[in-house]
């Protein structure tokens, strides 16, 4: 089984050029049919940021957390989550989206979730830049810790790869999957420390919430920019995240590999 898994991954690596071309194409296609085009990729998350900021800053009169303005506290985690939810939902349905290709052409279908990942990644890279700009505007200097965000970004990608292989393969057989995913994303948004502060919670609750691997990622984005902590400092959380991620990755890759022969039959 291990051999097959490695073969599966090597095959994907060989397709890296195709993946990149498809991702560019996907990115271009997503926005060419609307009048404002690429602007939409940024308008939607920006509007969410503004609403949240307005609600928490003026509505709830949140006080600065750990001497950091709420908006700065909120943005890194929110953008990380936004990327996660974007990829998780779009990549899980991507086999249906590309069914016209799966039914008519021969190519490595397993690249499709990765294509979605990269296509959404272009926008996320821009948003990471936005985070830097926002902190700059508030007078924070760029520090070496900030660049750990790339580590968290890549870690999240590995987690997403496993998840989306699993879900996209299952979604071919059952339309229920997309509904399940939207429920998970709804719950996940509030179960992850995005708009609330983990330190305020009782220890027991916090431990339960830490089971969510996105806890590690969102917290990591925040630590890179605000708390200036190295990612190896939270050893337990780091091991837990990678444990979960490896398990999800192996299950996802294997399920995809097993279900793959039937895709064209079912579609």
């Amino acid at each position: 089984m291990l051999n097959k898994l490695i073969g599966f991954l090597i095959d994907i690596w060989r397709e890296r050029k195709t993946i990149l071309d498809l991702a560019k194409n996907d990115f271009r296609a997503k926005y060419t049919n609307s009048i404002l085009g690429i602007v939409w990729a940024f308008v939607v998350p920006f509007s969410t940021i503004l609403i949240m900021w307005f609600v928490f800053e003026f509505g709830f009169r949140s006080v600065p957390v750990d001497d950091v303005p709420f908006i700065l506290f909120y943005i890194p985690a929110f953008l990380a989550w936004n990327y996660f939810s974007d990829v998780f939902s779009s990549a899980s349905g991507c086999l249906w989206e590309y069914s016209y290709m799966i039914k008519k052409m021969c190519f490595r279908v397993s690249v499709l979730p990765i294509v979605k990942l990269i296509s959404a990644g272009f926008v996320h890279m821009f948003f990471i830049f936005v985070i830097f700009v926002m902190f700059g505007l508030y007078g924070y200097k760029v520090s070496i810790y900030n660049f750990q965000v790339l580590y968290y970004f890549l870690s999240m990608d590995i987690l997403l790869m496993g998840l989306t292989w699993l879900c996209s393969a299952l979604a071919v057989f059952s339309k229920d999957i997309s509904n399940v995913i939207s429920v998970i994303l709804q719950v996940g948004f509030w179960a992850t420390p995005i708009v609330w502060v983990p330190n305020n919670l009782p220890e027991k609750v916090n431990i339960i919430l830490k089971c969510n691997p996105m806890y590690y990622i969102c917290n990591g984005y925040r630590e890179s920019f605000i708390y200036h902590k190295w990612f190896w400092e939270n050893k337990a959380e780091c091991f837990y995240f990678w444990g979960i991620t490896v398990v999800v990755f192996v299950i996802g890759a294997n399920m995809f590999r097993r279900l793959r022969p039937q895709f064209a039959d079912v579609m």
């Binding site: 050029k17 194409n25 008519k104």
Partner: protein, 433 residues
């Protein structure tokens, strides 16, 4: 041999049919659970090879597995058993169109196809003029393909498929939706590709195309290979089977099936007759009337195998009635690829009402006198007697005999004939300036 481009070995495709949707996921993910299902064999133990530069036709009725085997060779479907080895880049048009995204414009789809086939955007850009020239759909390429007519769709699909340097081109019935001009263009292009070494696999229901384009055929029936061999022979076999099933259907409609089916094969055939023995394997029909002889006479009235170019020959046939019935009658002259070139019928020549009315036991001799202004070569005569079921559309074959007589036409000594048939022309030459 290393010029084998496609090697299909013992390929089987089973569609598993489950009672519940979730059973399919469970079975695929955990095969050791042995989830209950029924198997549907779309293909069983299909093997054949295709060599470099060949055009091979795949023929068969609907549902015989033609499209399935093409999809397996293309790699879209994965066989349940057996193996397919393909050497080289495949470009395919499966069913209607290739992998086109309905929301993309023609141009975007061209690039997308290029990516999948591993051709970079820059490289593809160079090919776009050629593709557009062949597709010839004007400014529609800048429109989303969902706005295309099916003809435009297949034009673009075919244009892309042939312009990506495929080693193997796979074409499903798709071309049938193109207009005649485009089909002719595609045929010419495929011949040209074949000459430059491209291997072509071709599915169609049009036997004339099969005869002209393919050398070899694979005939599928119910997911198995019924026969594999020269295209002309298999095309005839296919048409024969089609006529048999057409007759069958008509018989059912006419509720005459029972009495006739009992002694269908060989009914009213006198095996003492040399002609009947000779054509036995080439004949079919319900048999109320039978051909009992067919001869070709030269202009001197002598029965002859060698005919001169443009000689006036007499094609004579004799028929015998076994029931009181009216039948239409005609013949076709076919070339070595069994293309029907010339021919006539009583109706066409306005002989009486176009039918012969006979009583049981009566025999008739019918003579057609005609010129044969045709290219040198071997020709055969196909005789047909039929009863119209729907006027000018479909008929019930009473007796149909392939290869009833064979003759050879000599070369036109005066000038070389460059086309198959020549008819007299009135020619004027005048100076206009």
């Amino acid at each position: 041999m290393n010029d084998i481009m496609i090697d299909v070995k013992e390929v089987t495709k089973i569609y598993k049919i489950y009672n519940r949707t979730r059973d399919r996921i469970l079975d695929a993910a955990f095969p050791f659970l042995h989830i209950k299902h029924t198997d549907f064999y779309a293909l069983s133990h299909v093997s054949f090879q295709v060599h470099k530069g060949e055009i091979v036709g795949i023929i068969g009725k609907n549902g015989s597995g033609k499209s399935t085997i093409l999809k397996i060779i293309t790699g879209v479907l994965i066989p349940s058993g057996g193996s397919v080895i393909v050497n080289g880049r495949i470009s395919s048009i499966l069913e209607l169109g290739t992998g086109f995204n309905m929301d993309y414009t023609g141009i975007e789809n061209i690039y997308l196809n290029g990516i999948i086939l591993g051709i970079s955007r820059e490289e593809m850009k160079k090919r776009i003029p050629q593709i557009l020239e062949f597709a010839d759909i004007g400014d529609f390429v800048y429109q989303p393909v969902k706005n295309y007519s099916s003809g435009m769709f297949v034009r673009l699909a075919f244009a892309v498929a042939i312009n990506v340097d495929p080693d193997i081109l796979i074409v499903d019935e798709a071309l049938a939706v193109g207009d005649t001009a485009f089909q002719a263009k595609c045929m010419a292009k495929m011949e040209q590709l074949m000459k430059s070494g491209t291997t072509i696999l071709f599915v169609t229901h049009d036997m004339n195309t099969v005869r002209t384009l393919c050398k070899r055929c694979v005939y599928l029936e119910n997911g198995r290979i019924l026969s594999e061999g020269p295209a002309a022979e298999l095309a005839d076999l296919y048409l024969h089977k089609t006529r048999v099933s057409m007759n069958q259907e008509h018989l059912e409609i006419m509720e005459r099936q029972k009495e006739i089916q009992k002694e269908r094969k060989g009914k009213n055939i006198d095996y003492n007759n040399e002609f009947a023995r000779k054509v036995d394997i080439f004949r079919e029909g319900t048999g109320e009337v039978r051909f009992i002889a067919c001869k070709v006479f030269n202009e001197n009235g002598k029965e002859e195998y060698y005919i001169k170019y443009n000689e006036k020959v007499t094609i004579e046939m004799q028929i015998e009635f076994f029931e009181d019935i009216e039948v239409g009658l005609g013949y076709h002259i076919r070339d070595n690829k069994n293309m029907e070139l010339l021919g006539s019928t009583l109706a066409l020549e306005k002989i009486g009402k176009g039918v012969i009315k006979g009583k049981r036991g009566e025999r008739f001799r019918i003579k057609f006198r005609t010129l044969l202004p045709i290219l040198e070569g071997v020709y055969n005569i196909m005789l047909v007697m039929s009863v119209p079921v729907i006027a000018n559309k479909t008929v019930l074959f009473v007796d149909l005999v392939n290869n009833a007589a064979i003759f050879e036409v000599g070369e036109n000594i005066e000038t070389k004939l460059w086309n198959k048939v020549h008819l007299d022309n009135e020619v004027t030459v005048e100076r206009i300036n």
